[in-house]
Symmetry: C2
Amino acid sequence: MKRRGILIVVSGFSGAGKGTLMKALMQKYDNYSLSVSMTTRAPRPGETDGKEYFFVTKDIFEEKIKQEGLIEYACYCGNYYGTPRAYVESQLSAGRDVILEIEIQGALKIKEKFPDALLLFVMPPSAAELRNRLIGRGTESMEVIDQRMRRAVEEAQGIEKYDYIVVNDKLEECVEELHGIIKAVHNTADRNLLWIEQIRKELEELSKGEK
Amino acid sequence: MKRRGILIVVSGFSGAGKGTLMKALMQKYDNYSLSVSMTTRAPRPGETDGKEYFFVTKDIFEEKIKQEGLIEYACYCGNYYGTPRAYVESQLSAGRDVILEIEIQGALKIKEKFPDALLLFVMPPSAAELRNRLIGRGTESMEVIDQRMRRAVEEAQGIEKYDYIVVNDKLEECVEELHGIIKAVHNTADRNLLWIEQIRKELEELSKGEK
């Protein structure tokens, strides 16, 4: 079967281990391309242009919007964030599965524009475990942790709109689960219509030839 | 996550290797239950009651229909064929995935009554390969083979209505693919609404507790 890449959107609560999970997935399997978002916010210490984000000026970002060079974008806290179109489309055409790591509003915008995008939501094993992980990081104040928990409550409103959920309990197992889901989705009838049509024609020809 | 069994319908052209595939899947993994159909046709040499089919009289079959004891049934060539309800429902409740091996009309009836049933279609790698396999069996006349090919053309009309297709090229790989798809389908958001709701409530409670 011929395969075109799948546009995969991965979302999840802060603390669900999404970042680590993506890193492990990319390391283990080489059919994935990770899309890097563009933003007008300033880089934080340790962040590299082109790795965490493409850091650009407001003018450049707005020019990109005009040229329809972003497949989705949004404004948070006075800064733009968006997904550059060119990279995504070239990778998909080359048959590579492209992963966008974005939050729920962006994810739903993608699904609207690309109905065959695959939306995955990474869940913690339980709410208590999510909180433990946020505390365990030891880098944030209780105030920030409470903020994140409240934000998780908001984000949790839209989970049903995702196609699949994965529970990030053990990292290795979750990577396999994620990869397994994406592999399975390549086999949906909807994604193989051309191939089905081809077999159908071949069957018709072969069965006519024998009459 | 709590899991209820999935009702899985497997169809495929005669010669696509469906029977062998199901046998190998059941042997390798123990979470599947194979539903045995009921029929009024006479057993063929070598067939055992309760294994290939439950062989019953027309009266018993029609009584079953009246009692709504079949989840679908149809009449072919003057004989009834149907799927007994009790076994399917008890296995699903016990969390076991139940496999029905039925043809396309039956499959679509199941999908109508059970919208969350999973419909899988087993494809040959190509039409030519399908024909080769039918010839290779060495048990059928060219006339019967041509008949089967023409039937495949008819059956091929409905493939898009299936959820997933699998290509049976190498048996072992196809078993894994099939198992992988079913595993993935357990992770659809739709099949985990109760669990999602539970996490949501826990998140709300935990975030309130911290205010």
